[in-house]
Amino acid sequence: MKDLNIPYIAGLVIRAQHSDSDAFAELYALTYNKVYNYTRHYLRDAFLAQDAMQEVYILALKNIGKLNDPTVFIAWLNRICFHVCYDMTQKNRPQNDCQVLSQEILDIIQDPHLDANPELHYQQKDKYSRLTEALEQLPFNEKQVLIMRYYNDMKLEEIAAAMEISRSSVKRYIASGQEHLKERMKG
């Protein structure tokens, strides 16, 4: 994806903003495999991944007119892709289910001596909401990687494959994301 010709894509985006279906179709042809790869890794289901992919492009087509800088189309599409996948996993989860799946991220916010006391339970819920807020404030890549790793319980290899980056880059994003989370949770 990083080898895509950005000026050419920007030209297609401008044409698509003027309701040129061929330009949008070409944008789709250039990016659909990347988007599908991401959704397929994230959702772990071929049919869900196809639905998510369609949802991504419907959102993209509806909102492409709002994109001020056509050169950032790929990054913008990646964000849509992440949010669609995130929303789909949230919808498929039971209401009372704890959103965070990994113990590793819970250790950042959790008191090890916490017991079943209802007061402490509410405190914990408060911490979860603070954690969610803190996650929202993280840089996009860190937030994306942390959510994939700890909310979606994906392996490093799966995240790397979905984002088309190296495993070490994923680890770096996780480490820096955790550091930023800790700082924000303390603050």
């Binding site: 949008f24 789709y28 659909y32 599908y36 991944a49 196809q50 369609q54 088309e164």
Partner: protein, 170 residues
């Protein structure tokens, strides 16, 4: 490396095309006039990095195959540079009953030069001037052989007669 698991998912073109038509119809957009398979083939990829890599590889190949041509002349040049000049007699003269022989060339062992008479008597040089390349022997009234060794096993052999210095053998 050789058994790297392929973990990239790809959507077949028919399904992708169907999805595109669904997307366009969902947004009330007209269908694309250019067929989807042609659009996929039209993929504009920034191949600058690949082109650079191919150019660098080609250059490396050319340099590899041309390297012998560069090395052979250099070795020939080094041979000519480091080959010592051959030792030879350049001048001989007699002055005050002293026979002086001047040599040119490298690796001449001036201090080991000697004269041998026909009776087998060894006569050491009277003087040796290494800087000028001159060896002086007493001027004899009989024939004698003059030996001037050269480093590397060779020896300059001169046959001296009272009238003149003749020939040189190595």
């Amino acid at each position: 490396m050789f058994f790297h698991k392929k973990n990239r998912y790809e959507l077949d073109m028919t399904t992708a095309n169907n999805a595109l038509q669904n997307i366009l119809s969902s947004c009330n957009q007209p269908v694309n006039t250019i067929p989807f398979d042609k659009l996929v083939l039209r993929k504009k990829v920034n191949a600058a990095s690949y082109n650079r890599l191919i150019a660098a590889t080609a250059l490396l190949f050319v340099l590899t195959f041309l390297s012998p041509l560069a090395i052979v002349p250099l070795s020939e040049l080094s041979e000519t540079l480091f080959v010592p000049a051959p030792a030879e007699l350049t001048l001989d003269y007699v002055e005050n009953n002293i026979l002086s022989l001047q040599f040119s060339g490298d690796n001449i062992l001036y201090k080991e030069a000697f004269m041998e008479t026909l009776s087998g008597e060894i006569i050491e040089p009277l003087s040796v001037d290494v800087s000028q390349g001159v060896i002086s022997f007493p001027f004899l009234s009989e024939e004698a052989n003059i030996y001037v060794p050269v480093k590397g096993g060779e020896t300059i052999h001169l046959l001296f007669t009272p009238d003149e210095v003749t020939g040189m053998e190595q």
